[in-house]
């Protein structure tokens, strides 16, 4: 199995390209083209001449970085970033913290009911975000809530209530990724530690968590990227409360600009900014940790 493809071994010619043709066609049509189009739109704006009436009154002109400058100067967008930052910090800390604790507990030496609890905690992965938000949304509603009439959807608590939906939905998947990584560790490591007098807690802290570092980094990166783009939960919760504005998260503002107020160019610039931030976060994170966390290609 260690012999990979030898230099020029399969005289394949066009064969691999044919195998890859469907993926490349889809990539071109549904990724490269839309990204290019977004970049193009973000550099243009609509020019209105006269009263803006008649066929030739609205024309598209080159705007340079004007839309980006406008996005940077947009107070509502910054407020959206701040809301998402607070929400994201909460979700990441709770979701990944819980996922790590559950993974370690599943892997503990004397655990019972491991299978049924593992499946239960993983179950929300199969629940659509919209359905999860609806269920919790009703549980938050005064009159229906079994927790009494707490103002779960008030301005002060709505971020926490929304974070709870995301934590509920995402913990199980991350737990399973971490747990699967733990299962791959040879048991002898722990035996050796036990002989040296380490307890379960010591093994978890000094052996298991260091082994999990690369997996924790990967799940963190994917979770950060997903959180930056939060859209479904606040959009679904909005009809139940007036504390979530139509521009609550940056992505919701992109949607509003594009489809409600019809300003495609500013929507394009903002979505390029969101993409840029997501990519910077992912690459930055991976670059910092790559050298000591990942050995393979």
């Amino acid at each position: 199995m260690t012999t990979r493809i030898r230099q020029g071994a399969p005289r394949a010619g066009a064969v691999p390209y044919l195998f890859l043709a469907p993926a490349m066609v889809l990539f071109t049509l549904f990724m490269a083209l839309p990204i290019g189009y977004t970049a193009y739109l973000s550099l243009r704006r609509t020019k209105v001449s006269g009263l803006g009436l008649g066929a030739g009154a609205r024309t598209e002109v080159f705007a340079g970085l004007g839309n980006y400058a406008a996005a940077i100067g947009d107070g509502e967008l910054w407020a959206g970033w701040l809301r998402v930052l607070g929400y994201g910090a909460l979700v990441l800390a709770l979701m990944l913290g819980l996922a790590l604790v559950f993974a370690l507990m599943l892997d503990a030496a004397h655990v019972r009911l491991a299978q049924i609890t593992r499946i239960s905690i993983y179950l929300p992965y199969a629940v659509p975000g919209v359905a999860a938000t609806l269920m919790w949304g009703f549980l938050y509603l005064p009159g229906l809530s079994p927790f009494g009439d707490h103002p779960f959807l008030s301005a002060g608590l709505v971020t926490f209530s929304m974070a709870n939906v995301a934590v509920w939905g995402g913990t199980g998947f991350n737990m399973l990724v971490l747990y699967t990584n733990l299962r791959a560790v040879p048991r002898e490591y722990y035996e050796a530690a036990r002989i040296d007098g380490a307890g379960e807690l010591g093994i978890a802290l000094r052996i298991k968590i260091p082994i999990l570092v690369p997996a924790i980094i990967l799940t963190t990166v994917f979770s950060v990227v997903a959180t930056i783009q939060v859209f479904t939960e606040p959009t679904t919760l909005r009809p139940l409360t007036n504390t979530i504005s139509s521009t609550w998260s940056p992505l919701m503002k992109v949607y509003r600009d594009a489809f409600v107020t019809g300003d495609l160019h500013s929507a394009a610039a903002t979505s390029m900014a969101i993409a840029g931030i997501s990519l910077a976060v992912s690459f930055g994170f991976l670059r910092v940790v790559k050298n000591h966390a990942f050995g393979e290609d």
Binding site: M1, T3, R6, G8, A9, P10, A12, V15, P16, Y17, F19, L20, P22, A23, M24, L26, F27, L29, F30, P34, I35, Y37, L98, F102, L104, M105, L106, A108, H110, R112, I116, T117, S120, I121, L123, Y125, A126, V127, P128, G129, V130, A131, L134, M135, G137, F138, G143, P146, W168, V177, R183, A184, E200, F231, T235, L240, V254, S271, A275, E296
Partner: protein
């Protein structure tokens, strides 16, 4: 168990993890069990009876839901099956041939193509969804089934999974032997390699099926006509219409429950195929 000191330190170690996991399971099952019970309550019972007391209105709730706008809920369910089923089958096929080619052939541009295809993991869906809508509009395809189906066929993550799995599962020597016997490249893929790739294909299918089933943003942006909605967008519009009318809550709650059933059933029956370890690189070679 003995009560000597070492055993004494061991016993709590079993109670703590079990207790923590049970608490976790209670937390995750709580809203699901609530929606199951709430869907059985009639309009009056929903606001009056204790939270977990079963009601008497399940059948009338179902009848109301299926009668809602001439049974549009059935269409949503059918559409979702179509988007998720069709999309996942095609995504699995594309990812498998791509991953196979990337894993077993040496050719010019391999690294570049791999990076392009897999780099898509990091591209936020929003950057794609809005221009995809505009481009579909140009082609007069916005609002059609195609506009939701086509963009979800290429799954960067699936290509990545297929490649690492194919690299670990298919010995180069086997393909070499096949070539010496005069087998063509398609035959090598179809008859020799594909059976070995089946576990990865099942996993990719399931991941992609769930991803499309749960997707909200793309159909929300693409579709205007509610006869083409999937369940996620349908339920959202139901809530948007009924949030101020508590008399519609029963419909929304029953619809939410029904939207969970197929996926949870698939999830529980295919439990052992959800192998996150394909992604963890823990595939034994």
């Amino acid at each position: 168990m003995a009560t000597t000191a070492p055993a004494g330190t061991r016993r709590p170690a079993g109670i703590v993890p079990t207790g923590v996991l049970v608490l976790g399971a209670v937390y995750t099952l709580f809203p699901v069990s609530w929606v199951v019970v709430a869907a059985t309550k009639s309009k009056a019972e929903l606001f009056s009876t204790p939270t977990f007391a079963p009601g008497t209105g399940l059948l009338s709730n179902l009848a109301d839901l299926f009668a809602y706008r001439d049974g549009v809920f059935w269409l949503w369910l059918l559409n979702t099956v179509l988007y998720a089923g069709g999309g996942a089958v095609l995504a699995t096929a594309v990812a498998t041939v791509s991953g196979y080619a990337l894993a077993t052939y040496a050719f010019r541009g391999r690294g570049l193509i791999f990076n392009l295809l897999v780099g898509g993991i990091l591209v936020p869906p929003v950057v794609l969804a809005i221009p995809q809508y505009l481009l579909f509009s140009e082609a007069s395809l916005a609002g059609t089934y195609w506009s939701v189906l086509l963009p979800q066929i290429l799954s960067p993550y699936s290509v990545y999974l297929a490649r690492i799995y194919a690299r670990a599962a298919i010995p180069a020597s086997l393909l070499e032997a096949g070539r010496l016997d005069g087998a063509g490249e398609w035959r090598l893929f179809h008859r020799v390699s594909l059976p070995m790739l089946t576990p990865a294909m099942v996993t990719i299918f399931l991941f992609q099926f769930v991803a499309i089933w749960n997707n909200f943003l793309l159909p929300f942006i693409m579709l205007g006509d509610d006869y083409r909605f999937p369940l996620t967008v349908g339920l959202y519009t139901l809530l948007a219409a009924g949030a101020n009318q508590p008399s519609l809550y029963n419909l929304i709650i029953t619809g939410t429950l029904l939207s969970l059933v197929p996926l949870v059933a698939l999830f529980l029956t295919m439990q052992r195929h959800w192998r996150a370890d394909l992604s963890g690189g823990a595939v034994k070679s």
